[in-house]
Symmetry: C2
Amino acid sequence: MDRFAIAIDLGGTQLRAALVDPSGKIHRRTSVATAARAGPDAVIEQITEAAKLISEGLTRAQIAGLGVSSPGPLDTVRGLALSIPTLSGFDTFPLRDALSARVEYPVTLENDGIAAALGEWRAGAGRGHDNLVYVTVSTGIGGGVVADGRLLRGRRGMAGHVGHMAIQRGGALCACGRNGCWEAYASGTAFARRAVERAAEAAGSALGAGGSRIDGHAVFAAAELADPLAMELVAEEADFLGAGITSLLHLYSPDLVILGGGMANGFDLMRDGIAARIEADAMPAFRDVKVTRAELGDNSGLVGAAMLAFSESETRQRL
Amino acid sequence: MDRFAIAIDLGGTQLRAALVDPSGKIHRRTSVATAARAGPDAVIEQITEAAKLISEGLTRAQIAGLGVSSPGPLDTVRGLALSIPTLSGFDTFPLRDALSARVEYPVTLENDGIAAALGEWRAGAGRGHDNLVYVTVSTGIGGGVVADGRLLRGRRGMAGHVGHMAIQRGGALCACGRNGCWEAYASGTAFARRAVERAAEAAGSALGAGGSRIDGHAVFAAAELADPLAMELVAEEADFLGAGITSLLHLYSPDLVILGGGMANGFDLMRDGIAARIEADAMPAFRDVKVTRAELGDNSGLVGAAMLAFSESETRQRL
């Protein structure tokens, strides 16, 4: 039995690595600022170094493999990064093979939304469910789906790009280039942008008073202190989230929707607003589906990447 | 080896029955106007009679079972019709058990979109694909999804209600009660409504001239004759379809999207418009996915229902 997997969460800002056991427990952890503009070679070097650091003192036999969660779209069948907006040079780049050439472990690659869904399914809020949708809301919106007891992968493993479901035809421009995506309305970026715009118009609000920086965290903090503008912004955000989630209920029919990413920090403030939008908009048979907060916080993707490495290792041992 | 399955396509207008072989070939067929307002007992009686008629002269051993495709939402795990808008009294009604009590064959029940997806997958345009989305566009919009080589069912078997993905927040009222659903913009009903409205304003159009009835068929016919208003309506419809399909690509990552239902009769006129919207809006990795027309026409659901009956029968024989 393998004792540990090395998990890598490759983000546009941070590259995080962890040593994870089969239960999903994290034993060691490290992170470094991603060399996002330096090109694939530099990033491969960073991942290799992080893997080495995190597994120091362990023997090869104790390591099941290296699981990598990466922003997409990735073609996980061929192990390619197709085009990662936040990382220069990752266009049709053979990420899996480039890593396999550098480390002595099997390498597993997964879209970050799917990896995080797996982490929450196996070791977080989704334990015991056969159908769930995980939605991560931070800079953008990503996701991953478990349906009928299996990860939903689709062609090239690219299913679950839930942020790029249009909710407003011809609406706000999304980072992907399309107009009206859910991400363009409900992401942390969109939330903070609305806060900055409205605070400039609302002199009475505590938001941004004294030149303090307005971001999602500041809005949630002000809403907890009952600042009217902040409460209005939070209610609006909950409504955008609930609207998108309602469509996801009809599309995937999950038992449970799990909300992760930085915006999940405001989940308690938004829970009722999300539920109200679902109650108003979902078809009756879908209204009782619960929306809950991710349990693993920042670590859903790391834990999921580790689970993939364990699963890959078991498959190899069976062959 | 079972020779035939009895397939029932229970619609709000027509109740159709067919005798289908394992290759998907239809050997006999019958139909009757659905007693849609007479309540479940009358409909159960109609289905029983149709099954008897269609299997006349065959022995019990020649029949694998009875497969029923029905409008949803159905809970296919428990065999319940949860609430069928077009059929009176089908609210939390035990459709599967009520039928099982009347026929000597095993009864399989499936949401119509999923049944039709299965028909196209096994015997139509989707043969050989592991990932596909079937979309039926007629009075409403329904669908079914094959992902990773399996039918996507989800909780209670209710996945794939693609018509009730909102594409315009707070937009047109849908039959489901929500505002802005894809169905409210791209269904045959919405297409015909726009045609009636615009024809009233456009005196020069051939549409509706001489008091002729304006419906989807009439618009497609006029567009083929290069009537400017009809061409504009068709282009707009193609754009609505392409917009929704683009979101479905991001959500399910199919190899192929199959368009069925009455509106597929205008597929050749809309093909370029659908493709143009996908090309403009889809993320690059999804742009090469083909949209094609259903091959089984009206029979996708019947053939799929038969396939379910065969599959159920095989499972029982293995147990």
